[in-house]
Symmetry: C2
Subunit: 303 residues, 2 copies
Amino acid sequence: MAAPSDGIAYINGEYGPLAEASVPLLDPGFTRGDAVYDTVSVWGGNFFRLDDHIDRFFRSCATARLAPPVTPDSLKGILAECVRLSTLDAAYVQMISTRGKFQNPLRRDPRECKNTIMAFAMPYIWIVQPERQLQGIDLAIATGNRRTPPEAVDPRMKNFNWLDFQRGLMEGLDRGADTSVLLTPDGRLSEGPGFNLFVVKGGALRTPRGNVLEGMTRRTTLELATALGMQAAEADLSVDDLRSADEAFLSSTAGGVMPVATVDGVALGHGAGAGPISLQLRSEYWARREAGWLGTPVASLLN
Amino acid sequence: MAAPSDGIAYINGEYGPLAEASVPLLDPGFTRGDAVYDTVSVWGGNFFRLDDHIDRFFRSCATARLAPPVTPDSLKGILAECVRLSTLDAAYVQMISTRGKFQNPLRRDPRECKNTIMAFAMPYIWIVQPERQLQGIDLAIATGNRRTPPEAVDPRMKNFNWLDFQRGLMEGLDRGADTSVLLTPDGRLSEGPGFNLFVVKGGALRTPRGNVLEGMTRRTTLELATALGMQAAEADLSVDDLRSADEAFLSSTAGGVMPVATVDGVALGHGAGAGPISLQLRSEYWARREAGWLGTPVASLLN
């Protein structure tokens, strides 16, 4: 029997155990991967950058031509209720809109589908566990495949078409790494399964632009670094920019700022383990999160 | 209340109404689009090229590193039982393998997931209705986005990462076309949502190679045309090869051979409506299907 703290889902207007939540097989959200989502974290009872996540979710919906039956405010209430029912103080909270079943099976016109809204709260996810982060992550550069380019699918539209990421992730795990970063078809640095990448050189931060999700923790890190007096910018980056970096780290809603120790088994320039600037940004990020930085109390959204 | 002829699904070892079938929200088959499938048709009580579809399905599974808990023979039995229970004589039959839930939520390693098998039978689907096929289809060339390239996701691995197709399809429908064909990132002809494309010039057939699913109806059409004494081959094809063609047609398990009348609103070279070679191939295809060509009787697979 699932406990509330294992996760609570909202589907079809009802709240229930996440472990029992399901999507109709005939929803093109499954059979066509025709869905968008966003993930917001809760830490110490506060949503982080909730309005920014909600804004991005509705932009993803607009790009995919999805119109979920919810307003920003009612969606916030649903997310908060999922968290409240879960009793979780630190949570991974997701909102999803799928295409929804075809209204006319003979026409099969995606434009006529009744789009859906789903949401859930579950325990906070670390895409790399905190103890590994402190040691520094072993990162692989995927060689077997590339990131889907923006000409095919806009990566700013946060979506579930992850076969490229999954393949790269399994390659990295096979090679003994914690995860993998993918390259663009023309060989530039892109992003990995659930994270953006940063490189640090001479005290300055750079992160790939163009072929990536504009991650919220990526944006937060750019702002934080600037506030701390560091140079930080988006740029076109080569594999060599990573291999020759002093440091590198990953950013994700599911794990925060995560220092990289090695790339394809080779230690980065600063030496063994997690780099000092990466560790500093990680500490600053979590200290601010603990203090409710950019936060919206879950309780403030409940009736 | 759903009738059996509305569709029957097999999930978790049980058969039930397709309309009630669902996928767990936490299966990465949904939240990562991490699944493969294949679709085989039944016409007049016969599966078409069943062994070829089963072979391709297991090849897709191998490419995705999925190991569905089923043998080719037991899968055939499941598909046949879905069709039997549905009472359908003409059916669209699909087999699906998803990654399955994470066994260890902390590790989230796709390699450790228990992969699933699902299947269903539903009434035969025409991606373009027969009466439209006889008039000739209005085809659009998608301008808003391109097909995901093989460097990112192998298109021979039949999968649900369809956001590129869905976008192209909606663009075509918006423009008053029946459907759309997508181009590769470097501008060659590729495929469309659920179909391969053929062009006919001087009596010879050509179909795009490399950036496409190796469709079973595509293969059947190449074989059929050759048997009828036509030239037929795979080739790298440009947009101009389509615009300047005498005729064009689509091929799909969901509709067979489907003549194209116009491309971006302009009639193809042979003149108005469906072209004669396309119509001939369509007739030959369905006459053979009616006669049980390359067929496996559903009844022969039932205990």
